[in-house]
């Protein structure tokens, strides 16, 4: 049966609720869980015409 579960989170409350269910499932299955969150590339998150306004933060 399933021994390795991948759980995805985006920080939303729905995601938190899902994680609780996934952990409960993993416990019943004696499975390991990896929790992953993904962030988009900067260029995809910011439309081209806004990239000048939304420069990535620079170190002080």
């Amino acid at each position: 049966m399933y021994e390795q579960l991948l759980s995805t989170m985006d920080g939303s409350s729905e995601g938190d609720k899902d994680l609780a269910g996934e952990l409960a499932l993993a416990k019943r299955l004696f499975a390991k869980v990896t929790v992953v969150t993904a962030t988009e590339p900067w260029t995809e998150a910011v439309p081209l015409n806004l990239t000048r306004l939304a420069d990535p933060p620079r170190p002080c």
Binding site: M1, Y2, G21, A24, L25, R28, L29
Partner: protein
């Protein structure tokens, strides 16, 4: 946790994997299982002149026979695995709608289904039942490959 699992099958080899996976999960979670197979309305399969060559009563008999064969196979597997399993043939509905309907009516808390992994033109023409179920389901869906 999941207590009432719905397993959808069309009798294909890949669906067989979903049935086996659903039974495994049900055994570990001590859940009850309903196995469902859905046959489409005659009108969805036959149009125009072809309808004369494939009368509705013959289609219904073929659909009933096929569903009975699929479900008896699943029942045998369930008995072997010592799992409480009900079987259901939903007639004259599009598969994704039939599956979601039964999941609602039976208050299932997990749907297990195989994805045939169609691509390109085949996917465009035939669509994906699994994707439709996943998109519209109100409960978690386990897609087996």
């Amino acid at each position: 946790m999941f207590k009432n699992i719905l397993i959808a099958t069309d009798g294909s080899e890949l669906s067989g994997k979903a049935v086996a996976a659903g039974f495994d999960l049900a055994r570990q979670l001590r859940a009850q299982v309903t196995v469902v197979t859905v046959t489409e309305p005659w009108t969805a399969l036959v149009a125009g002149d072809a309808a004369f060559g494939f009368p509705i009563d013959e289609y219904e008999k073929a659909a009933d026979d096929s569903a009975a064969r699929i479900l008896s196979g699943a029942s045998k597997l369930a008995r072997k695995a010592d799992i409480a399993c009900a079987t259901l043939h939903v007639k004259e509905q599009y598969p994704s709608e039939g599956i979601l309907d039964i999941a609602d009516k039976k208050a299932c808390d997990l749907i297990v289904i195989a994805s045939h992994g169609r691509r390109g033109l085949e996917r465009l023409l035939l669509g994906s039942v699994a994707v439709k179920v996943l998109t519209h389901s109100r409960v978690p869906v386990l897609i087996c490959r």
